[in-house]
Amino acid sequence: MQMPHTSVLDPHSPQAQSIARLFYIDLSIAAVIFLLVTGLVAFAAWRFRARPGDPEPYQESGVRWLEALWTAIPSLILLVLLVLTAKTMLEVNPPVGKRKPDVTVVAHQWWWEYRYGDPAAVAANELHMPLGENWLLLISSADVIHDFWVPDLGAKMDAIPGHPGYLWIQPRQAGTFLGTCAEYCGTDHATMGIRVVVESPADFAAWRQHQARAPVPPSDAAGIRGGRLFAARTCRNCHSIAGTDAHGRVGPDLGHLGERATLAAGVLTNTPDQLRRWLLDPQHFKPGCHMPDAGLTDAEARDLASYLEGLR
């Protein structure tokens, strides 16, 4: 799978840009201070190392003004940094006021749910956003504390149950951006990838209209067998598919699954064959995840994969 480059210093939103600028300033100050300290220590270590016949050194116990000076200078530097910090905070994540969030992010152990407002649509593990619009994300959690972090797009925000957080993101380049859960959240914390797809407003509008419609099930024989299997097994206790009686919210929504790039929050590339392998043994690919081994035969897994991948 092609992995896009990800870096705090490769900003693709004004928010990330502001943070990167502050980071560069901070790094520059830190570099100067570090070189100064290292230089002084190295010079002292070389110049004042003991030599045979050294006289007793002069017992200098302190000079007030010098100590006051090296207290004052760092204080001033930090004051400047504090002002820049406050300014950048307002640029990056200003108070929300009465603005309604554009999308609600619900973190789960160990996947992401995205709920869009009017027209209502739900997506899993892949967040679609329109290019250039300054969006407000509501970050929440269905279980433990998680954290939504896409370095290229800016700040992270904890997803805390009972304590919603807000995050502004204005993507300014189309493409796919990767992130991950940043707050340790249990067994599969490491495999809780975030995938943000930024597309032109027109493409985004089309995607959203499509997403809001109940998916059309496949009409081929394998797909139809798979659909029956889905309804007969326990899948719907945890998963939902619009237009069916599957309304579970423990696992990801599976409507339009075939249009996603990955499976299991970034663990596998999404192909029918990978889905078949995943269905046969989810614990192999994501040990400890909440999806049990459903005891499917290989043929059943193949049919189920045909059905799910065929939902369009």
Binding site: L22, F23, F48, A50, G62, D158, H163, T187, P287
Partner: protein, 559 residues
């Protein structure tokens, strides 16, 4: 070996002191020196355990998608690594030095409450053993060393690991508070005549201030531990949001303890550095009053910065501004100490013993850790880098490159006092270079990993160059780091058997512990030299001959 004192000689090793012979003398001891040694030895043992856990983690992370460990195992290992290094290694190591040295440095015969001192150690040891028993009792805790709720609630952590974690920390926490009270009372009541608070050695000053931090900070943790245990065992809902509890409440409790805890782990190392650098530079400490008072400032401020661990939780800007300001403010009294230590070296005649080399490396590495710390006080940068490998690098620069290097300086400096034998300087230098290269090679690149989006506490990571390369480099250098740490044990064993006899004052130290024999007799001093300044032994050495002889006669000693 017979008692050398019977024939007028002086003990040159612990084995020659009859009171210290036999296992029972150690198990039942209320001698602060034996208890100090027990603390330090246990801490070094758990250091090796923690290092072994770190090595396992570095093997798992050597390349993307490695299957060396399952995620469940990895999560237990990183939780135990953090908990071990903070609570089972660093704190007891610092307590060990404190209870060993404080009575000697203030000219006392023992701690104020010797039995309480012993109780503190045994509470620690059994608390520590209880934590490790969890591996055999159904699984170790796996929620990280700060165990955020509600992951620790019964509905998410099924096994008994969290219960063991909370109980053992509670037991050790009670011991820590007892020991801290003991240290405060000892410093306040048992100083030898002439030893005013303004003449206390800086190590004692730092320990004194530190003890207040322990007394005030640990109860917040202990209270939170009781609450999580009640949540898990009695179905209360302190931290369960679905029943009206608060997940954030745990974080507030934990960091009200946890941030002072960081200073609890650093201040004694400051104390060690403040003793080692003057002695090996042959100069008086620069700005004694400044170093002591800035430590008091740190202690006060450290209770007002805890929210900087929670900048990404979506708190109001009003709270964020206050805690950004306090977090930057605390950098001032911490950072400027570095300049005092450099000024102490300036114009001196520096002998680069192993202890001094560790102290010098401390200055540079701790500065790096402090600067990356200030980066987190700039809140928007924290919003990007918190919970990433940048934090992992930061805490290790502060606690390993800082605290542990400082404590290594202390180990090389006071080992001859404690055991009567010098540690091998040759092995010491080898160990120093292994640690400096291993440490920086392991952790410097982690700053970059964090900037590239690598989250902490992940058992694996996507195959996205250069993450794999940076992890491989880190893991490779970790081998050197681990070897360097194991070499300490080798050096201790070799030097205890074959080390050069130290004598009373092998380094030309100036504080009272160097006025007695190495190792000191069970009652510490035959007579305590007069204290007329911060450096009683310097005064003795620099007094006119007549005064010096009078001082010797007055102060005694064994010559």
């Amino acid at each position: 070996m017979s008692d050398p004192r019977a024939t007028g000689g002086v003990a040159t090793s612990l084995a020659q002191i009859p009171e210290y012979r036999g296992l029972l003398s150690w198990l039942s001891s209320i001698d602060h020196k034996q208890i100090g040694i027990l603390y330090i030895a246990s801490a070094v043992l758990f250091l090796l355990v923690g290092v072994a856990e770190a090595v396992l983690m570095r093997i798992q992370l050597m390349w993307p998608g490695n299957h060396f460990m399952s995620p469940g195992t990895y999560n237990q290992i990183f939780t135990m690594h953090g908990t071990t290094m903070v609570f089972l290694m660093a704190m007891p190591l610092l307590f060990g030095f404190s209870v060993y040295l404080v009575p000697l440095m203030i000219g006392a015969r023992d701690m104020a409450f010797p039995r309480l001192n012993a109780a503190g150690y045994w509470l620690y040891l059994f608390g520590a053993l209880m934590l490790y028993f969890s591996f055999m009792a159904g699984g170790a805790p796996a929620a990280g060393w700060f165990s955020y709720a509600p992951l620790t609630e019964g509905g998410y952590s099924f096994g008994p690991g969290i219960d063991y974690w909370a109980l053992s920390l509670l037991v050790m926490g009670a011991g820590s508070v007892a020991t801290a009270i003991n240290l405060v009372v000892t410093v306040l009541t048992l100083r030898t005549p002439g030893m005013s608070l303004r003449r206390l050695p800086l190590f004692v000053w730092m320990t004194f201030v530190n003890s207040f931090l322990v007394i005030l900070a640990l109860p917040a943790l202990n209270a939170a531990l009781v609450m999580i245990l009640a949540d898990r065992q009695l179905n209360t809902h302190f931290f369960a949001p679905e029943h009206g509890g608060s997940a954030l409440l745990w974080q507030n409790y934990f960091w009200v303890f946890g941030h002072p805890e960081v200073y609890i782990l650093v201040l004694p190392a400051f104390g060690v550095i403040s003793e080692v650098i003057p002695v090996f530079s042959r100069k008086v400490i620069y700005g004694y009053g400044f170093l002591a008072s800035s430590t008091v400032a740190i202690a006060f401020l450290s209770f007002g910065v805890w929210v900087h661990h929670m900048f990404a939780t979506g708190l109001s800007f009003a709270a964020l501004y206050v805690f950004a300001a306090s977090s930057m403010l605390i950098a001032v009294p911490t950072g400027i100490k570095i300049f005092n230590w450099i000024a102490t070296m300036w114009g001196g005649s520096i002998r680069f013993t192993t202890a001094m080399m560790f102290a010098t490396a401390f200055l540079i590495q701790f500065t790096a850790g402090g600067l990356s710390g200030v980066t987190f006080a700039a809140i928007p940068i924290d919003w990007q880098l918190t919970d990433s490998y940048f934090v992992v690098a930061h805490i290790h620069y502060v606690l390993l490159g800082g605290t542990l290097f400082g404590m290594f300086a202390g180990i090389y400096y006071w080992f001859p006092k404690i055991t009567g034998r010098l540690l091998s300087e040759r092995l010491g230098r080898l160990q120093f270079w292994l640690l400096v290269i291993g440490f920086n090679g392991t952790f410097a690149g982690m700053h970059v990993l964090g900037v590239l989006g690598m989250p902490r506490r992940a058992y694996t990571y996507p195959d996205r160059p250069p993450l794999g390369l940076l992890h491989l480099i880190s893991s490779s250098f970790a081998i050197l780091l681990a070897l360097g740490l194991v070499l300490l044990v080798v050096n201790v064993i070799v030097s205890l058997r074959r080390g050069a006899v130290a004598g009373d004052d092998p380094w030309g130290g100036w504080t009272l512990e160097w006025a007695t024999t190495s190792p000191p007799p069970p009652d510490n001093f035959e007579r305590v030299p007069p204290v007329r300044s911060r450096r009683p032994l310097w005064d003795l050495a620099h007094a006119p001959p007549a005064v010096r002889d009078a001082g010797r006669a007055e102060g005694g000693g064994h010559d």
